[in-house]
Symmetry: C3
Subunit: 355 residues, 3 copies
């Protein structure tokens, strides 16, 4: 009997059709256990996600789940359908944090294929998907575009018409969401430890964060499993020993979370992630790497209808096994320094002084 | 002063008496934290244990705790009294999952000695116990038989009368429990990702699961401690370096959980574990091993009074550091391939098509 | 632009002023996830912290959080302000467990500088702080003194007047707190597994605990991050490889927790930690070390207004990579055996027989 009949081996390039919508399995109810593990795995210290009285003082009825924990859980659901056979995760764009998510909420994710381009080799192709996560009330809470290079299995299937989606350079202002009940106040400094407010940051400013975090083998796999991301290249060392890498790769999202946590000193009042505008995993990370982070302030702007909060557009550079002070100019594309692991363009909300 | 007066060093073979009942310490309230850790430690993706809306749709008032998480916690309580001085955990039988267990339930375990047989060497013996776990309402929720080989300490104590219990080859039909309020429906496919129902499986079918999971050192010890299983051979490397193994052994139950999780692709709709009929840890596992899993369908049968669910009796073979496709015939007993770590005969409930 | 403007690099010796009060960031709401992780990280088995029915039987409305978990979380908050630039954590004194802490409580910590002494080298100094943790109702739940040696940054700043605080040799009787609703009873033996009560212990008694726990790299860093303790020397291996240690150090509090857990056999009925009278990390611990524990009974005394409970003052000796039986006389100060990692003088409450 064919012993692979019942195995869903994941989609290959020729299995994706433009505009099709894929419903991903494993709706996931987020619990206090997930949040505790997230702190243990990343060292996150933002009181927005660990202090009930702090969040009450800002207008929330309870603690919202860390923006990136929610993102990783939502993202993980797409892996079995989208990226099981991916050669590489090429990038993110237009990542919208549409609504706060709370303990007890259940996330369900669907993806729509919005772009396809077969590679000239005919062996693989690039797939663009827009993924959307809703909560148990069917309200959109997260949405993002990512594109991956996926192997082709049946090489004689004709190439699809090439469609490359138009992607915004950054999440548009009308998709940056702060809850209407949110009310910033200056006393947050006592809880965040941060003395600097939106008013104090300027475009062009660079912050070299001092802290480093070494990735232990169990930590990255525990994180990957917590997010129910079952990509083989993170969990199966027997397989990966035979790959070019010779070992398991760290889930790239884990590096984003570490950098967010490492950048706490210097960005203490960056309470909310509003958007990820673009992101690239410039070089892979492995267990044993020590991650450091540099932040560049790209832009600073006010938000419509809010006097208490402003937005900062930031560049988060994740570096491995090298101090931020040793990284001079940060290039991009094919010119990335080999120790640069992450280049992420994101937008945060930070209180303005004087509330 | 005798510095060992107060230490309970655990029972040796001569300390067990036929029919005695042992009350195990550490009643344990299961929390959402345990469930989150279980996902992080095993990669479990069954929506039965991580999605409140999914379980509501099946008739539950809340998410039941993963069957194996509950089993490991219940089992761990027996270790200080039963297997601290065990040479080997020889097998399991008649493991009944009598009632669902929910977050907030407290598990208490007792064991009765149901068999004794001194080995011909006079240095050790085999002890059979039936362990029973109740919840805070004193309702039986789990029950199982296991037998272990235990060192003798006072070698001149006479051998007990040999009593070998009659063990069923499998858990009988009247001990397979599905809650009366449970109602299967075809829409589960959207949440499980599985397109195959009870009707689609046949005795003799073999499923080679593709995924592998490498066991990191911290993962197996975190799991063992979460279950409050204090067996020295899992946690004390200083001790185990002097053993024949030269290192700590992985708790065998952890391998069962990994295999359950690895076998998700191909068995997505196996929502409930009804029974473990028999089980053997064919070879020990160590940190660094990558575990793979093969499933054989042993039998398929209907369940009394249920049109919506059927039972599948499955054989779960855990393999280490070798792909399922490299394992030809699966033998048993002394003939196990050295890379076979686990041979487990268990029964699951799976929805039938057309509800 | 100066790229370090916004980084709080932590205080150096000259930045501390006698009597100043420092409000620490990151108020922390404790969850069931924290408690589950604590069990997984330490192997704790005290039913006081994992069984709701057990704690109800003693008069609690719900499960109190493990004393040491609460301490580590409270302590972690002081690190960014007090010990980021510490050369060494020299000791603890007068650690009071003032009130029980429950899941859902939020801890906030402040510290007052109560002593200063510049070292003769002029390169560093010793800072004594009294830290106080309150819950969300502003009730003191924890309080302790610790002293650390901290680098001086601006060497030409004049030395402060030397003030060495008077520290009690042990926490005074009126600071040992047992809730008024607490009511001990003999049936606890069924849940703790311990047959010995307060009446059975005598000053001078030594207990060699049998169990050992090997510290995996991920375990100590997960614990340190869970406590939001961001000291670089625990988490940044790239940095620590250049240090005299050549590797990361284990957070000393983690060793205390392991020893508390390892000493469970022999002290099963030591339900509550009332105080830590004094403590020293005699030698550093590293990943890979196996920790063992010896307990010496220092003193036994009754508690005012309580017939059901008595106090035991205990010495907890943490040993690494050596069995308790191999440690003969336990010396102190500069005479510590190089395998002694911890010397802690603490006081527990234990039920008296006959309730």
């Amino acid at each position: 009997m064919d012993n692979q009949t019942k195995i869903n081996a994941g989609r290959f390039f020729e299995d994706f059709t433009l505009n099709e919508v894929i419903q991903h399995a494993t709706p996931r109810t987020i619990t206090a256990g997930d949040s505790a593990l997230y702190i243990a795995l990343t060292g996150a210290r933002n009181p927005m996600h660990c202090s009930a009285p702090f969040t009450h003082s800002l207008g929330y009825h309870t603690i919202p789940v860390d923006d990136l924990l929610a993102f990783h859980i939502a993202f993980g659901k797409t892996v079995p359908d989208i990226s099981t056979n991916a050669v590489a995760n090429l990038g993110y764009a237009d990542v919208r944090f549409s609504k706060p998510i709370f303990v007890g909420d259940t996330l369900t994710t669907t993806s729509q294929v919005i772009g396809l381009k077969q590679n000239s080799s005919g062996q693989s192709g690039v797939v663009w998907v827009r993924s959307t996560t809703t909560n148990q009330q069917n309200i959109e809470v997260l949405s993002w575009v990512r594109w991956v290079m996926v192997h082709k299995n049946e090489l004689n299937v004709p190439a699809p018409t090439t469609v490359i989606p138009d992607l915004p350079s950054h999440v548009s202002l009308d998709h940056l969401y702060i809850p209407p009940y949110f009310k910033a106040h200056d006393e947050i400094s006592m809880s965040t430890g941060g003395q600097y407010f939106w008013d104090d940051y300027q475009a062009g400013e660079r912050i070299d964060h001092l802290a480093g975090a070494t990735i232990n083998p169990a930590e990255h796999t525990l994180a990957t499993r917590l997010y129910q991301n079952n990509a083989h290249l993170h969990c199966d060392d027997h397989l990966m020993k035979k790959s070019n890498f010779g070992q398991r790769l760290v889930y790239g999202g884990g590096v984003i979370s570490l950098c967010r946590s490492l950048s706490y000193e210097g960005l203490e009042n960056a309470l909310i992630i509003l958007a990820i505008n673009a992101g690239t995993h410039a070089n892979p990370s492995f267990a044993g790497d020590t991650i450091y982070c540099v932040t560049e302030v790209i832009d600073r702007y006010t938000l419509p209808d809010r006097n208490d909060m402003g937005a900062l557009r930031l560049r988060m550079i994740g570096i491995k096994n090298m101090l931020p002070s040793e990284l001079n100019e940060i290039k991009s594309g094919s010119k990335y320094h080999p120790n640069v692991a992450l280049d992420l363009d994101y937008t945060v909300a930070m209180p303005r002084r004087g509330n």
